[in-house]
């Protein structure tokens, strides 16, 4: 394959993304191109399309195909207590400060299938803060949101989640939080009583509430700098004075245009605090 035929693919991807925006208002125009391209090419193989332009055609005229494509573009992978040190830092350093507020609003942005939301709910529960919290869990993928709302996960993942939970300083037995049923585990309903699941795009929507803590992990790595800046702008607007922002283990606000509005609170674990 020559370099010039690749430019053709890049053009097709740009057109596809534009078509999606015009037709469905999902905005992938400012996502990092290199990984977007891998996802589109993967979808092309799985959807058995001869070209990206064929995907575009099918997506434009068939919302179901768009939903299918969305599953590739959004990368719905998650894990409970992923990077246990992050959750340990939340427990040991952030919760003691959050405790001083009479009521709490927490936003999990890009919550995917809910693993991160439930992990945070468990932390809040163990710190005695869940009852006075409202958690907003948002994402752009309706399938993921529906799954998150159900709170049912594969039994295969439970050993890993249990290990993570313990490394994150879990105070009980992880088994206290679920009932096993066949190949699945159903998480305790009380964990989602304080959670509102909602469709919200960091690329196109605006702030909907003031919050004390925002957790947004492994979402920003898929955005280009402009969209990262937009997102940090939303977070800055939503967070109360001295509010907390938790990011993924390789993400930082340090090189963005909002760097000077935040300080590191727990550097290794990527927890920032609004100045």
């Amino acid at each position: 394959m020559s370099a010039s035929s690749w430019q053709g693919v890049d053009i097709e991807i740009k057109l596809l993304v534009e078509a999606i925006y015009l037709r469905y208002s999902y905005d992938f125009r400012n996502y990092s191109l290199a990984s977007l391209k891998r996802r589109v090419l993967l979808a092309q193989r799985q959807l058995e399309c001869a070209s990206i332009s064929e995907i575009q055609h099918r997506v434009l005229y068939d919302p179901e195909v768009f939903m299918e494509l969305l599953q590739y573009l959004t990368i719905p992978v998650s894990e409970m207590f992923r990077d246990p040190v992050y959750y340990l830092a939340l427990r040991e350093k952030v919760m003691p400060v959050l405790r001083t507020y009479p009521s709490l609003k927490i936003w999990v942005a890009g919550c995917s299938t809910g693993e991160e939301v439930y992990s945070i709910a468990i932390l809040l529960h163990e710190e005695g803060l869940l009852d006075r919290s409202i958690i907003y869990a948002t994402d752009i993928n309706p399938h993921s949101l529906k799954q998150a709302q159900r709170g049912i996960f594969s039994l295969d993942n439970v050993p890993q989640y249990t290990r993570n939970y313990q490394l994150a300083g879990g105070r009980q037995s992880f088994a206290d939080y679920y009932t096993a049923a066949y190949e699945s585990v159903i998480l305790d309903k009380s964990l989602k009583e304080r959670v509102t699941f909602a469709d919200h795009s960091l690329a196109t929507d605006s702030v909907f509430s003031e919050t004390h803590f925002i957790s947004c992990r492994n979402v920003l790595i898929y955005f280009n700098k402009d969209l990262q800046n937009r997102t940090f702008g939303l977070f800055h607007e939503s967070l109360c004075h001295r509010g907390f922002l938790g990011l993924g283990s390789k993400e930082t606000i340090e090189f963005s245009s909002y760097a000077s509005y935040f300080e590191y609170f727990s550097k290794e674990e990527r927890v920032f605090r609004k100045l």
């Binding site: 290199a34 898929y222 390789k250």
Partner: protein, 200 residues
């Protein structure tokens, strides 16, 4: 001094991508040890590493070379004279504007970071102005990516399999296509120096 390019001009390149798996630490040491601080080409390395915990690659190599050594930061611009390592558990990709991005998409060839993912995106960014080097390993990762470097007109180098600690990875590449060079590590090091002189 003999040249690796006796009957053609030394290619002009902007970056070097390197893939290594089992046995890679020693192999990489031979490659980068003794590269002078004037070496300007950026070197981007995927060395297969276990997903959890922090990687010690940076601290190991800081003492072995005069180049700047670092683990890739998300969205940083590739800068010259730097030896970059991919972070554990994330794919490393090069964007069209030479920023580096990370991804947690599923493993490729059972690997994250995957050599193919780096090589394929590097080709998209640099086209023919790229050197791809595939070293020792018990994996087939990197073979397809290096082939792509080859077809895009980049310079491809495979470690001499008989010298490799584990020959699977070099052999997998050789089964797909014939690279520009099949060389032992010392020679690859010399070739890098020669490229550098041309591009200086």
């Amino acid at each position: 001094m003999t040249t690796f390019f006796p009957d053609r001009p030394i290619p002009q390149v902007d970056a070097v991508v390197i893939g290594a798996s089992a046995g890679g630490l020693q192999a990489l040491t031979v490659l980068v040890e003794g590269l002078s601080s004037r070496f300007r080409l950026p070197l981007l390395v995927v060395q297969h590493i276990p997903p959890h915990g922090s990687s010690c690659l940076v601290s190991v190599f800081q003492n072995k070379t005069k180049l700047r050594v670092k683990e890739v930061d998300e969205k940083e611009l590739v800068s010259p004279g730097t030896l970059y390592f991919a972070a554990p558990d994330y794919h490393l990709l090069v964007e069209e504007d030479y920023c580096l991005s990370l991804s947690q998409c599923e493993a490729v060839n059972f690997s994250r970071p995957s050599i193919d993912v780096l090589f394929e995106s590097a080709v998209d960014a640099w086209g023919e102005r790229l050197v791809g080097i595939l070293l020792t390993g018990a994996s087939e990762d990197g073979a397809a990516g290096l082939e792509k470097v080859h077809w895009a007109g980049g310079l491809t180098i495979v470690q001499e399999p008989t010298e490799a600690q584990v020959a699977t990875m070099p052999r997998a590449a050789l089964q797909r296509f014939t690279p520009d060079f099949i060389l032992p590590l010392r020679e690859i090091h010399r070739l890098l120096c020669e490229l550098e002189c041309r591009n200086a």
